[in-house]
Symmetry: C2
Subunit: 237 residues, 2 copies
């Protein structure tokens, strides 16, 4: 069972903080983790951030604060050999999970990555649909195929967009309660805190609404409060 | 017009060398570039390699050998904001091109990335299909939609798999001669050198067949010779 589920059950807020922009300095990142790690469920680091500061620097922060959960969001979408090499390199610095794209398919692709994740004890999350409008051009048209890839793979969880709650509902209906659903698009991208959880997600991924704030603690508390309020007043899944 | 086209026209071999495995040390990478850059058309660095050695180290090699062509193969597949940030970070060290997935779609995705590439003077290549078998599970089923995304985007070129030459033929027929086609899957993944060019590709991407060799010069010369021989004896596109 994923450590992420333990953190949620222990009462942490249903928020993963997304860190993408290199303008967030390393010391700001460290401050962010230190100050919010007991309130939120974890941190998701994007490719531009990891590339910009390098794995050694990221490692130093992760090593200092081990009592939370870190996802390397490289949106892996390559052949098995390459995704596996990447995951080995990245997880050496302490990441607990990686994200890969469902459209890559199983054979010679996600199958091999899953084996390596199991070997390393790393959680795997599969993108089923994305938060931008372009996702409706192709990705969403084959979502049932992507979901059958998920069922064949049995990862820890999936990614589904807060910006289109009907997609989250569909993913939850299709997959049942077996998988965690993490949902990006809350805040700067437009979705209201709580709305994705209301549609069936387990966790909401929030980036700029927290990372661009002058006060990380206040900003994350506000997101969590808004979530609870939304869930209180809404008829949810 | 892409500098890559100039290099091909100046008579360099129709090979891009793919470097993915961190077991290729930095000094080996440097040796590889130094010894083969006048024979091949360029180098493609994968995510595991770039992450493993970090951008500063990669920059030092690129800066030492400017008279070739470097592609950052991060297989970008994210929302516009994140892909754009990544491209800015990566191209600061001297890469000439980046690769992104057609699957992502235009709106809020590849459209934004293309603008940033144009701004930076960086070439953009779009994956239309992949070299592993899993690509037939989803990607290849929507290839016409991916190709219409390519037409809407007008990138420098596209990626199509040497392991399935019928896909290359289809991509070439659909797109005409406007776009460069780069084709991975030659060598270790099974396709014969020359076969992808014969099917309509401009360049073949070769990794382990060259990078695992004890003699980079000999290995790359052999690939180029095999290409020419294949093209001589075959009825090509």
């Amino acid at each position: 069972l994923s450590r992420l589920l333990d953190l949620i059950r222990s009462g942490r807020g249903r928020v993963i903080v997304a860190i993408d922009d290199p303008l967030i300095t390393l010391s700001k990142f460290k401050e962010l983790v230190m100050k919010t790690k007991d309130a939120v469920s974890g941190f998701k680091l994007g490719l531009p951030y990891i590339l910009s500061y390098g794995l050694d620097n990221i490692k130093s922060v992760i090593t200092d604060f081990r009592d939370t959960y870190y996802i390397a969001d490289l949106k892996l979408a390559d052949i098995d050999v390459v995704m596996s090499l990447t995951t080995k390199v990245v997880c050496r610095v302490g990441f607990n999970g990686v994200i890969a794209h469902g459209f890559v398919g199983l054979k010679g692709g996600l199958d091999g990555l899953k084996s390596v994740c199991d070997e390393l004890g790393v959680d795997l999350y599969i993108v089923t649909s994305m938060s931008h409008l372009g996702s409706t051009e192709i990705y969403d048209l084959v979502i049932d195929k992507v979901l059958s890839v998920v069922e064949g793979l049995r990862p820890t969880g999936v990614i589904a967009p807060a910006t289109r709650p009907e997609v989250i509902r569909r993913v939850r209906n299709y997959l049942g309660r077996t998988y965690l659903i993490l949902s990006p698009g809350v805040g700067a991208q437009g979705a209201t805190p709580g709305s994705a959880i209301c549609a069936g997600a387990d966790l909401e991924i929030v980036g700029r609404a927290i990372t661009s704030s002058q006060d990380f603690v206040k900003a994350s508390e506000e997101v969590i409060k808004s979530q609870l309020k939304y869930l209180e007043v809404s008829r949810c899944y």
